[in-house]
Structure formats: structure tokens, C-alpha cells
Symmetry: C2
Amino acid sequence: MATIYEVAALAGVSPATVSRFFNGTTVSPEKQRAVREAAAKLAFTPNKTARRLRKQSSEVVALLIPDIENPFFTALARGVEDRAQEAGFSVVLCNTDDDPGKELRYLQIAASEQMAGVILAPASDEADLGAIASLGSPVVAVDRTTPYPVDAVKVDNRAAGIAATTALFDAGHRRIACIAGPVGIEATEDRFLGWRQVMTARRAAMPDGFLQHANFRADGGHAAMQRLLALPEPPDAVLTTNNLMGVGALQAVVEAGADPARFGLAVVGELPFLFLTPRSVVQVRLPARHLGTTAASMLLERIGGDTQPPRTVVLRAELAR
Amino acid sequence: MATIYEVAALAGVSPATVSRFFNGTTVSPEKQRAVREAAAKLAFTPNKTARRLRKQSSEVVALLIPDIENPFFTALARGVEDRAQEAGFSVVLCNTDDDPGKELRYLQIAASEQMAGVILAPASDEADLGAIASLGSPVVAVDRTTPYPVDAVKVDNRAAGIAATTALFDAGHRRIACIAGPVGIEATEDRFLGWRQVMTARRAAMPDGFLQHANFRADGGHAAMQRLLALPEPPDAVLTTNNLMGVGALQAVVEAGADPARFGLAVVGELPFLFLTPRSVVQVRLPARHLGTTAASMLLERIGGDTQPPRTVVLRAELAR
DNA sequence: GAAGTCCATGAAATCGATTTCGTCAAGGAG
DNA sequence: CTCCTTGACGAAATCGATTTCATGGACTTC
């Protein structure tokens, strides 16, 4: 790998001039040509590490998501990537597994790698954004918010929960259970609150056991659904507050021999790779990719020097079909 | 962010000693304590950029995959990540979209970022590994091989194609079509060859149109299936050479009103988030995660200085159920 | 007790870019 | 014609770590 010094020597100019050439400062035409030729001959690529050390910043942003195997987050990641790419930034994807420890580690890495910024779907409220924020790197929270004053992009989760539950009511269901995510995650908690609000307003019964907490994956939804079906008086419909739990729940319904077209299922999110799903399944489509592009845009503005007070953008989810 | 100099000053030692403390060289107990305390007080984190510049290497590996929204590749990525994590490495995920241009760009970035190594599912044979290889960073090809002499981890794709096709035969199908991926991708081409081998051996007819090429995504499989169903004498079964094309094909079968439990469908790979799929669907399970961990292990060995000649590891796929 | 090892340590060089500062020459104003 | 501004450009400092080299003291060994 050729260095700027070798290029300078070959071109008969100083390293400073080579640097200027590559960074757009004015350089006389003859020297431009000399540098261009020398660089081409040596296949020179500027060393990003050296540049980063000197400039104290990079063209890399970190994206921290809880689960890379969840299509919601990969779609979101696609959005971030596309937008960042346009602006000449690379994206580093990090899997936090909803583990605050891993999250913290990645945040520290982002800091010590001098990344230009961080987009984070926080695993917990404790996310030590303090560390990052005090560092000057901008942070944008996505999908979930944090108590720290940073930009955020989220979905109107309460409304999503309300829409989904209402749709189940409209389909004639009354005994509607809810499979919610782990406690403490604002996004899915709001969806659960939407469910409760509708249930209360419609004076529907919410017996013990109708609220199940589960991990965010399919196995969690599956187990929770089995618990619901084992109740003395099981529900005739269920709302899951994310997509993968919906997959697991549907699986459990099918396994139990119930007719999935009869049993009411509503999902906040989309059942991924949907094809044989009964039409009766209610889905509230979340703008995953859009969340990503919006978050990336906001981050890029901050990186560009925007210093307005933190904003929160709320996107609407819409009932599919 | 505190620097090593500030720590040194506070601890009353030289920067060299601080560096030695953090890198495990012998330092007297008193100075160890002094450095530890100073570092703690200043919340010192070593600047990775400076370290990387000096050491000419980093603890980051790049993983280049064609499609982050394909569960096969995310599972693979998980494998890579888990293994790398254990060894203290971070993984940077890059989406090549099966675009040789993007792939080349990311390879150059990997080079100029002085990444410790690259794991690559090549988008094309032209992948300019020359650039990377000449650089000294080790490279491991995964899922697909390349003409360059690098380590590789792949699946016995021919056998997978044979197993899937044979299963369709065993289920009584004779008019079996094949939806293959784009030409030039070795992995799926081998699967197609497996199909042809079985068809030839069993003297089954392979009329024009029974071989369809499609892009690797669900929409490609969907369109290809529609073309197959529109044939004057359509097939009664189909093999798709990857998972997402299988999703699309199944969708098309259902839409066309055919009974998916009757129409034979075999997929090399797994239908993701499978639940209502007819039991009759044949799936050849690919060890996605295992491909990832194996590739990561091989890469880590190379990073560790292993210089044996390039190896190719072939994993077996097994018929599901 | 002299000579030879070994080890902890600090000073200074180093990685490869960017950037400040100063110089020098050309061009414009008075 | 002289003074001043402007712009190109090179020398050298800088970013923050690692690493080489030199030194001085403690410890062995004969």
C-alpha cells in the first residue's frame, strides 16, 4: 500500500500538496497532473486510519439493533444503509441481543473507533448514552426512545395497539388476550397499553393470565400462546406486540389443532414471508425501512453540524389490507 | 477522552509504561496500581485508531454478504459474529446486493480500514480479491467459492440438489421443473446440476422451459413459478435452488389455486418462519450458522498467522424431517 | 569484589495522513 | 516604482498509541 510520501516523491511535490489534491484545495494544474499520475501508478489509496486519527472522525456510523435475525430490524437496517450509503458513509451493524452489557460494549467501541455517529435501538433505559453523548458523537434512538435527550424516531405504538385490538373486536372477538414483550421496553409496552385501553373502553373482561410476557422471539410467542390455550377459559383471540411472537403464536394455534382462520390473531408488525397465512390475521404494518432512512437522515444532519434541540419524529403504522 | 499521556502524567510514569500496563508487559506492582487508578479516574479508553495506525491492524473483520434480508445470510452472520466475538473481534456487516461494484467498493474499504480479515460470499467470480490478497489481509470465501486461492467454506450443493430432487421423485412426481438462481453463481448452479443429474439418471423429461432462471429473492421465484404454471404442459413439482425463491414459488402456487399439498415443492434451504407450510414441502436444511462459525474460525486462524495452503471445507446439507 | 545478566523504565521514533504557519512570487493599487 | 494582497506550496507539528533503544539498578556467579 503506497503512502502519501511515496506519491509525493514520485510526483516531485510535497506530501502536503498530495493531501490538498485529494481534499479539494487549490493546486496548480501541472501539479494536479503530476499527482494524479503518480497516484495512479502506485495505486494509492489514502490510509483511512491515519486520516481518522488526525481528523478525529470517520465516515462510519454504527447501527445497534437487538436482533439481526428479526426481519423488522433488517428492513430498518436496509433503510439506514441506503441513506448512509448515498452520503458516502459506511454502516457497521452490531447485534446487541437486547443485552445491556453487549450494548454498552458496542457503544464504547463506537466511541473508541471514533465513529461519526450512532443509531441505536436501545436494549434498556440504562443504555449508557452518557458516555457517547459526552463524546460529541451524535446519537439517534430508533424504534425505542431513551430518557437521554437525543433525537429519536419511533412509531405511534399506542395507536398501533389500538388499531389492532379494535380490528379484532370488529371481527367479533371479545375474549382477547395480549402477548407482550419483556417489561421495560417502551415500544411494545405502548402497544400493550393500546390493547388495555380498547379492552377497558369496551368493557371487555381481562382475566388474570390474559396478559402474557414473553421474549421477543418466535419461541417466546409460542410458549406464551401455549400458556393461553391451557387456561381454563382460554381466549378466542390474541394480540402479539411484535412480529416474531406472532409467528410463534400462530404456530402454537396450528399445533393445538385450532382453526387459525377462526381464532383471532392480531400482530403489531408483519408476519415475515407471509404466504399461507389466513386472511383473518390482522397485521399492523410498521414502516421499518422508513424508520431507518429517517433515523439516518437525522443522524447525518447532526454529523453535518446541526445543533437544534433534540427532535422526536413519530411515524404512523397502518393496518394492512 | 483521556489520552495515554494524561494518564501517564497523573500516574507519574511515562506513556510507555501505561501502554505496557494495558498490553500485558511486566510492570512493577506499585506502578500498576498507580496506572490503574489514574486510568480509572480519567475513564481512559485506549484510542483504537491510534493503535491501529501504529500496529497496522485492527480487531475488526468485515463480512460481505449479498442480502441482509435473507434469513440464510443473517443466520450465517450470526455464526460469524458469535465466533468472532469470543475472540474479541468485532464484525462489520456489509451488504453487497450481489453487485460486483458494491462488493469491490467494500473490499477497498476493508483494505483501507486495515481490517484484520474479510469473510466474503462472493457476488461474482470477478471479485477483485487480488486487491485484498496482495494486502496481506486474510480472506475466507463462504457459501460460494472463487477462482482465487483462498480458504473457503461451502455446502455440498450438488448433493443437496440430488437429495431434494430424489425426494420429489420418491413422492411420486415425475414432471419436475427447476427454478435456479442467476447464472454464474456456483452455489446454486451446483444444486441445479444435482437436479439435472437425477432427472437424467431417471430418464425424466426436461422440456424447454422446465429450467427457469430467476433472481434470488421471493419476487424472482414468484415470477418464475408463474411462467412455469403458464406452460402448455406445466410441471407437477418444482425445485428451487434457494430459500426465498421457494417462498415466492409457494406463494404463486397458492395464488394459482393449486393445492400446495399436492403440487410438489422442494427447496434447497429452509422456508423461513415456516409454520403453515404443507408437510409435503421438501426442504434441504443448510447449515447456515455453522458455515459462519467455520468461516470465522478459519479466518481467525489465518489472522493468528497460520500459513498452510488454502483449504476448502465442505459441509453437508441434510434433508429436513 | 568484579563481571555479566536481567528487568523495569523513560526518551524518542514511528505509523500516515491533515493542517498550521511561513515563504515566496505574481499581480493590483496608489 | 513601491507597497500590499493573494495564492500556491513546502516544512514541520500534530493526532494517540506502540515499540525500539538506551540506561541504571538489582541480582548472579566465579
